[in-house]
Symmetry: C2
Subunit: 367 residues, 2 copies
Amino acid sequence: MKFICTQENLKKGLSLVSHLAGKNQNLPILNNVLLEVKNGLLCLSTTNLEIGIKTKVRGKVEREGSLTVPAKIFSDYIQSIRGEKIELIAKENNLEIKTENSETVLKGLDYSEFPLIPEIEKKYSATFTAEDLKEGLSLVLFATASDTARPEISGVLFNFNKDKLVLAATDSYRLAEKIINIRTNIEANKKIIIPLFTLQELNRLIGEIEKKQEIIMNINDNQVSFENDTTVMISRITEGEYPDYKHIIPQTEKTKATLNRILFQQSIKAASLFCRQGINDISLFFYKDKVEIRALNDQLGESKTFVEGKIEGEKNQIIFNYHYLLDVLSSLNDSEIIIKINNPETPGLLIPAKRSDYLYIIMPIKQ
Amino acid sequence: MKFICTQENLKKGLSLVSHLAGKNQNLPILNNVLLEVKNGLLCLSTTNLEIGIKTKVRGKVEREGSLTVPAKIFSDYIQSIRGEKIELIAKENNLEIKTENSETVLKGLDYSEFPLIPEIEKKYSATFTAEDLKEGLSLVLFATASDTARPEISGVLFNFNKDKLVLAATDSYRLAEKIINIRTNIEANKKIIIPLFTLQELNRLIGEIEKKQEIIMNINDNQVSFENDTTVMISRITEGEYPDYKHIIPQTEKTKATLNRILFQQSIKAASLFCRQGINDISLFFYKDKVEIRALNDQLGESKTFVEGKIEGEKNQIIFNYHYLLDVLSSLNDSEIIIKINNPETPGLLIPAKRSDYLYIIMPIKQ
């Protein structure tokens, strides 16, 4: 194998794939990136056996061939060198890396040991923009259960519904639901669960691409892929049935507060310094034209902050874990949000004031 | 006590003092900041018993008085609230903090428990600019021994010499010496050793002030202070005699290389990926018109990078710990540096190409 490309192209390709290659003591080949020079391109692949990522690097093929080298050091080295043009030459299982002012040999492993990353039949697919997917993920991922005791909620529900895709995530204390626009031939009401780690990696990948780019998602019975013109990521789908959450969405409310998102967020951050450690409780009191945010801690003292806003309905109060509020308030971009509550014992609802594609339900802390 | 000031002034004062107040389980008062309202000002103080910092906050005194409150939460809270004007009111040992839209009570401790921070007689003093002191510290602090087995080298030597102050630091593997300009009435050849931690705190403080500001240093037999018009920091001086290092500075060299600092630094970073872990060894080979930087690791492979430059004298080679090179190369701002060596067994010297106020000696790794 012999391949010549720019440092920039190679650096970019490695930044997409090398993160997934870890420090696997039992299976060292998983720490490596697979280099395949064929069909006029260099293809870079990494996998952790649950997820695989492949990306294409443009350049000049002088001799086809394949090998694997440790991903982290290869990526770090390519980032640290200077020189516009890089030559990559396989010498048995070693990779020679040459620039105008450097000559380096990186020891590799035979490519035949590298696990095969499956291809997915492109029969059922959905298309969305990188921007829409990124916004969708950023508004639900934080609500996903991070422990794996209940695998079905340690992933995000993708519920296909004609030209809408409903993303939902919950850790059983709060639930987030976001609707994004898609074009698809996937049957209406098809539901799949995609593991949290897959979507965290996907979120990282789409952070590196142009936001108007289209991303195509392909699914089959137990696998899913996300791809654009250079890169594809493949993952298993979580088996199991996602809990039916529609019945817990409050349909009416006794009190409705419309608040400036940033002022509300700042006030909660300030009050959070005085909450009880481990409980993280802050109280919200809804008055005629303002919300009072109160936290109390026997050792430290007590904090009260007032946020003015439009309050409709009854005087009311509720206690929330402040983390659940800050997660959503810091992920939204809207200038105003609405909180709807009924009483201190039942879930509250938080939505953007001016659009209807997102909702967030929070269980209260009962006194 | 009752005091009214802007959020900005109070935030700034707290950012200077609160870092020093730690999490002292045995002596909780050391986690607190002392607030003293008197003489038309609020004075904030913290101490860890080795160092004390005091700063003045401007505002309106309504009632004099003193108390102490936990420094970290007070500082975090003042940073997180909004509101131009802040009222601070002592109610017994509690501090009420009021703004237009918040009312908070922070529990404190009686000020009489707070350790007295001594004053230093202003008899022997030196004056320098914040900029000169900052540059001096940034070029020697990294070479200071961080273990305290030998207290005299886990501090920096301040050697006063009329209108020059020589700063020197060593961990016995490398030595840095920087000369800065001062105005002083301290006797010529006076030497004191200031603990590393004091200077790290000082470095942090001067990072927050305007670089042309003057800083006055006062010394007595066992204490030193650094102050500007609002803030003073006081520390003990380390007892003991600083090692006499003048005789280890190489006076001649067999090989002298003038190199671009940034290219040399990049090449060392790239090569460092291939050094042996724990040894951190990279080899430098001096040829007619370039230096080769080489690192070799049985598991990973081998890296060679070439940096062109002006090489005078003999062909030569030497092995260094790459950390010792990166520390100095990343702290200097000069575009060119000079390395002088004699042979692989004796120390090398690194200096800026165009000024003579700094030198750095590195012990080689012997083969």
